[in-house]
């Protein structure tokens, strides 16, 4: 009864759709392959033959991109991403824990105050934030990115972590209370270890956000030595107008970390980006 399944559909409509998906895949993949290919060429060989393979593979484009600034941007991005991640995980999980422990109206009020922030887009706050950070002198430090990043990722993270905390059975907690455990011990020894799945989701969302964030990084930071990769690439392009190969090498380098994270934990990654359905 059952027909043998093949990769390519047998029916005409199925085949047409399959072809359509193939074309769509080419439209998506080809530009990326082209970037990788061209990142090994010099300007003249891109100019003479846009489509061709490099005659001579210029690995030097990569080392030039790295020494011409990408290494600094890369380091900055790593520092900002890691600090944002650590700060956010701590602040979001304590806040979520606090909300689940608060009894009565206060818990509800705190949660609402957090959730309302979700209605706010970063664009609305960026001018006052700029003035605020400048007036306290933080605009020349990494904190000019880290603190706003934590603040703007907090509502979504708290929402996800809280909904996980609420589902944790109360038995262990009650037993711990009888044994005289403090709130901090309950949080640190029971809730956090049990919540690894949701914390890893939040981790991926945060890495993705902090690595790619552009608006705050370009406006709030007033120091060329603190540029993260998204901002640095712009400067890089302006500085190397005709050296397309080197610019493209820089672009490829900047994508590698997230692609590695994706390859290592693709299931988690997709869950991280679809949880809460809020991208970047």
């Amino acid at each position: 009864m059952k027909k043998k399944e093949t990769i390519i559909p047998r029916s005409i409509p199925g085949l047409l759709m399959f072809l359509f998906c193939i074309i769509l895949s080419i439209v998506i993949i080809y530009p990326l392959l082209w970037i990788i290919m061209s990142s090994f060429k010099d300007y003249m060989s891109i100019y003479q033959d846009v489509w061709g393979m490099p005659e001579e593979w210029l690995f030097s484009n990569y080392s030039r991109a790295w020494t011409r600034g990408i290494s600094q941007y890369f380091l900055n991005s790593i520092i900002v991403t890691i600090c944002t991640l650590i700060g956010l995980l701590f602040v979001a999980s304590t806040l979520a824990f606090g909300v689940t422990q608060l009894r009565g109206r206060l818990g509800y009020a705190v949660f609402l105050a957090v959730m309302i922030c979700m209605l706010l887009s970063p664009q609305v706050c960026v001018l006052p934030l700029f003035i605020l950070l400048r007036s306290v002198g933080l605009n020349k430090t990494y904190l000019a990115m880290i603190l706003p990043y934590i603040a703007f990722r907090l509502p979504m993270s708290v929402m996800l972590i809280r909904s996980f905390f609420v589902g944790i059975s109360k038995e262990m907690e009650e037993a711990a209370v009888i044994d005289g455990a403090t709130l901090w011990q309950i949080f640190y020894k029971i809730y956090v270890p049990l919540s690894k799945p949701i914390l890893s989701t939040v981790t991926i969302m945060t890495i993705y956000y902090a690595w790619n964030e552009f608006l705050f990084a370009t406006i709030l930071v007033d120091s060329s030595s603190l540029r993260t990769i998204p901002v640095g690439l712009m400067v890089f392009r302006d500085g190397l107008m005709t050296e397309w190969g080197v610019v493209m090498a820089g672009m490829v380098i900047s994508c590698i970390p997230l692609i590695i994270v994706y390859l290592c934990m693709s299931r988690n990654f997709i869950r991280g980006l679809t949880a809460g359905s809020v991208k970047g």
């Binding site: 006052p128 605020l132 709130l183 406006i219 672009m251 679809t274």
Partner: protein, 296 residues
């Protein structure tokens, strides 16, 4: 008494988070409201109260209307190409005939989501390059020389070219959201429909569409509010030009504040963005709750 003590302890856990939100979200929002009634520049020491002047200017500023028009165009095209088209592609990939190839296509469509917007924008700058960009070379190679143009430098094509960048990047993400939603539909619904003799298209409209209604709604709000806050693409690719052809609200706000140095008026533009996006997200927030569906 005991509850009160416990509440105090629990509240201490909330303090770091609440402080950060107060300083970096609530305080700037309030400041922004105050600024929008003032006139000042970044270097000025005093702020002059100007009443509703900034808001009056909003309504007579032709660039605002141009920006809103572009934002709306952005939203409409994103709804068609990401939400509608994404749903159809998700349904196709979830069909049985694609069982063997689904993961392959899914992975490929998702790849652009991994790249940062700056990288994608720079990539399209190379694609749109008039002399040696991929797009013009492609048209020349297939003999359609008439279609080549200066994509980002011509009034008619600049905005559409910028919008195309987002479609390329985000459609796979939206498709992925729909795939997640479709996979949650109980399969006996489809089996029952097959027994009743419903064809594939019929099943799409009578089962798939109603069952992913909530996700449809989430993605709509997501793309529309994304369209009204878009900044990076026009900032990187055209800077709003040629003329004001690709100006959008956030970019207009940025240029008014940091280039023309009129912070008061820029804050009024920010308030306009605030009202638009807050209305959109509260619709989502209060009627469905953000992404409750996708939560584990």
């Amino acid at each position: 008494m005991n509850t009160r003590k416990k509440n105090l302890g629990a509240f201490i856990f909330c303090i770091p988070g609440l402080l950060i939100l107060a300083i970096f979200v609530y305080f700037p929002l309030i400041e922004n409201i105050i600024y929008s009634f003032q006139g000042f520049s970044l270097s000025s020491t005093s702020k002059e109260f100007v009443g509703l002047d900034n808001y009056k200017e909003l309504f007579s500023d032709p660039i605002i209307w141009q920006s809103i028009k572009n934002n709306v165009l952005y939203a409409v095209i994103s709804i068609i190409f990401q939400v509608m088209f994404g749903l159809v592609i998700a349904a196709i990939l979830e069909d049985k005939v694609f069982r063997k190839s689904e993961r392959f296509f899914q992975t490929i469509f998702f790849i652009p989501t991994l790249l940062s917007l700056t990288v994608v924008c720079l990539l399209f700058e190379f694609i749109y390059n008039p002399q040696m960009g991929l797009l013009n070379s492609f048209f020349e190679a297939v003999g359609l020389d008439g279609l080549t143009r200066i994509w980002l430098g011509t009034r008619d094509t600049a905005m559409l070219s910028i919008i195309a960048v987002s479609q390329w990047q985000s459609f796979g993400y939206i498709t992925m959201l729909f795939i997640v939603a479709i996979q949650k539909i109980p399969s006996d619904l489809y089996e029952a429909a097959i027994v009743d003799g419903a064809g594939k298209i019929r099943r799409f409209f009578t089962i798939t569409c109603p069952m992913v209604k909530q996700m449809f709604f989430v993605t709509m709000v997501l793309t529309v509010s994304g369209a009204f806050t878009v900044f990076n693409e026009p900032y990187i690719l055209t800077g709003g030009g040629p003329g004001t052809a690709t100006m959008v609200l956030s970019l207009h706000m940025y240029q008014t504040g940091f280039v023309k140095n009129r912070m008061g008026y820029a804050s009024a533009i920010a308030m306009l963005i605030f009202v638009i996006t807050a209305v959109l997200s509260s619709v989502q927030f209060f009627s469905f709750g953000t992404g409750k569906e996708e939560r584990e």
